[in-house]
Amino acid sequence: MLATDTLTLGYDGPNILDQLSITLPAGQITALIGPNGCGKSTLLRGLARLIKPKHGAVVLDGHDVQRIPTRQLATQLGILPQNPVAPEGLTVRELVAQGRYPHQRWFQQWSAADETAVRSALEITNMVELADRAVDALSGGQRQRAWIAMTLAQETDIILLDEPTTFLDLAHQVEVLQLLEQLNRQSSRTIVMVVHDLNHATRHADHVIALRAGVVQAAGAPRDVITPSLLRAVFGIEAEVIPDPRTGVPLCIPYGLCAAEPTDTLLHADAVGSRA
């Protein structure tokens, strides 16, 4: 189980997250939502130990992650950063094989376990046929699947993803989200993802954590927490929330900005979200 205990994160300037204590339920898909600059990507990086806490700790199964050896942590927790770029000419298989790094030792030959992990990662992501193609020559959706395959080959129980669907078209977004859902259901992996599209969060996540300015506004099952008042508080938008006609999960339909809210950051968020 992954959790934070009075976690304070920040770069050089003011703290982005202050004394944050949250729990990410094991074996579930958690979506981190919130406007741009709310600290959700910072939180994800902090969870993966890419940023050192100024105060508090990230706790994995009762241990402070700062005290877990780097390589051992990498066998328990994998992260896919936002919009990763593969070096030119790197094949899918070579990329996926990199995921085995934490399982290997100096001068140790490529083991049967490594081979099995790479093969199964390629199969699950449906990349077997593309295994010998260069990553930079693939379409956006294929490329994202290749990166997810690398994270899978790492064989961690917890996978963190920063906006895994950004820059993808609709079909590729659905493809990636269904893959994550499949991973979670079939091998009960804990998945934590930053998502921009609220309806992706409600549809695919078991647990939603809504952040605004580094503060948790709500955390819980989408049905329980996604309400018009939450959307007003977190995003500053007026929205209708209706049950999805097929699945019954909350469906958000935004109609406009709240008059009282400062709008500049929100407009910016919208502009970034539509770049894909």
Binding site: R45, A48, R49, L50, T70, R71, Q72, L73, A74, T75, G78, I79, L80, P81, P84, V85, A86, P87, E88, G89, L90, T91, E94, L95, Q98, G99, Y101, P102, Q104, W110, E115, R119, L122, E123, I124, N126, V128, E129, A131, Q154
Partner: protein, 347 residues
């Protein structure tokens, strides 16, 4: 989801075969290097038979002029060319991998000019003559310029992009080169000593100098080759590498020490030789791919090959005069640089 089982069960083989092919390729390249090095020794103002070369190595006769020429002129020359070629290519490959910058090269990023300035300062103001002390000034110059270029290139938005690093490198190179020229113009005696060296030359070294440089070169070499796996992971981006369990801070420190030792030794031995560190890793990447465990040894052999051949070319084209090898590599490397800037960097 459709899974092709037939294909997936036959997968372990190509991997091993590829490794075997790469190992054989490396052996062949090493053999080729040795052959060309022997040819380079044979070849000169007076041609020497291969058997004489052999005899001078293992059955040295101090009274033979030919043996003397081989031992004191030609062998040191080809050894310097091979060592300097290997270490400059390694330094280039490490810098390109670490900074994810296709234009990284000890020459382009100003490190060689800094090392050269260090050596010129040493000769002018401290009257230092032995390579051991040369090297320390070369390392100091290399380290200072490396830090300066990286800091300057990291300013502003987006951190150290290839473009900014290259511009910072050009700026620091211009500064170091003009400073070096100023010292030399004011001090005629130093000029004569270092003029040829500053153009990048592998001639005029003796075996003693090579022996003095070996500890630095050896440590740099071992550090460089130990970075193979880490550099492959770093090439995926720092966050990914850390997510995979890389201790990226240590990798950077070790890489920086390796680059300073390698580039500094190269300059101390042969003066600033440009473009080799740029050229060789790109050619080798084309042949062996981007797995640095293979790429680094291939770069070492490839760099040695290229510089030994460039030295032969420099001796042939304007016979009986010679062109310094640094000029030859610049002539070969210039077009490559333009190609990289034009087609690779703008993506």
């Amino acid at each position: 989801m459709a899974v092709t089982l037939a294909q997936s069960t036959s997968q372990p083989k190509p991997k091993r075969r590829a490794a075997a092919a790469l190992a054989i390729g490396l052996l062949l390249a090493t053999g080729l290097l040795l052959v060309i090095m022997t040819l380079s020794i044979n070849f000169g103002a007076t041609d020497v038979a291969p058997s004489t070369v052999w005899a001078s190595l293992f059955n040295y006769d101090a009274t033979s002029t030919q043996h003397l020429i081989i031992r004191t002129l030609r062998m040191p020359r080809v050894l310097v060319a091979a060592i300097v070629g290997a270490i400059l290519a390694l330094a280039g490959a490490i810098m390109q991998g670490l900074t994810r910058n296709p234009l990284a090269d000890a020459g382009l990023l100003g490190i060689e000019s800094g090392a050269a300035l260090g050596v010129v300062l040493a000769i002018t103001f401290f009257e230092i003559k032995t390579l051991n002390l040369y090297s320390i000034f070369a390392f100091a110059g290399a380290a200072v310029t490396a830090v300066l270029v990286y800091s300057l290139g990291s300013l502003g938005r987006g951190g150290p992009t290839p473009l900014k690093l290259t511009l910072a490198g050009a700026m620091i190179t211009a500064f170091c080169t003009s400073f070096t020229s100023a010292i030399l113009i004011l001090n005629q005696q130093t000029l004569d000593e270092v003029r040829l060296w500053l153009a990048g030359t592998v001639a005029g070294r003796d075996l003693g100098l090579i022996a003095e440089s070996l500890p630095y070169v050896g440590v740099g070499f071992v550090l460089a080759l130990s970075l193979g796996r880490s550099l492959t992971a770093m090439a995926l981006g720092e966050d990914v590498a850390r997510g995979l369990g890389q201790r990226t801070g240590w990798v950077k420190v070790i890489a920086a020490i390796a680059v300073v030792l390698l580039a500094g030794s190269a300059v101390a031995l042969a003066g600033p030789i440009g473009f080799l560190g740029l050229l060789v890793p790109h050619i080798m990447r084309f042949i062996v791919g981007i797995d640095y465990r293979w790429l680094l040894p291939y770069c070492a052999i490839g760099g040695a090959l290229l510089l030994v051949v460039a030295d032969i070319i420099g001796r042939v084209v304007v016979r009986p005069m010679e062109i310094p090898v640094g000029v030859v590599t610049a002539l070969l490397g210039g077009p490559m640089f333009i190609y990289l800037v034009r087609w690779r960097v703008q993506r």
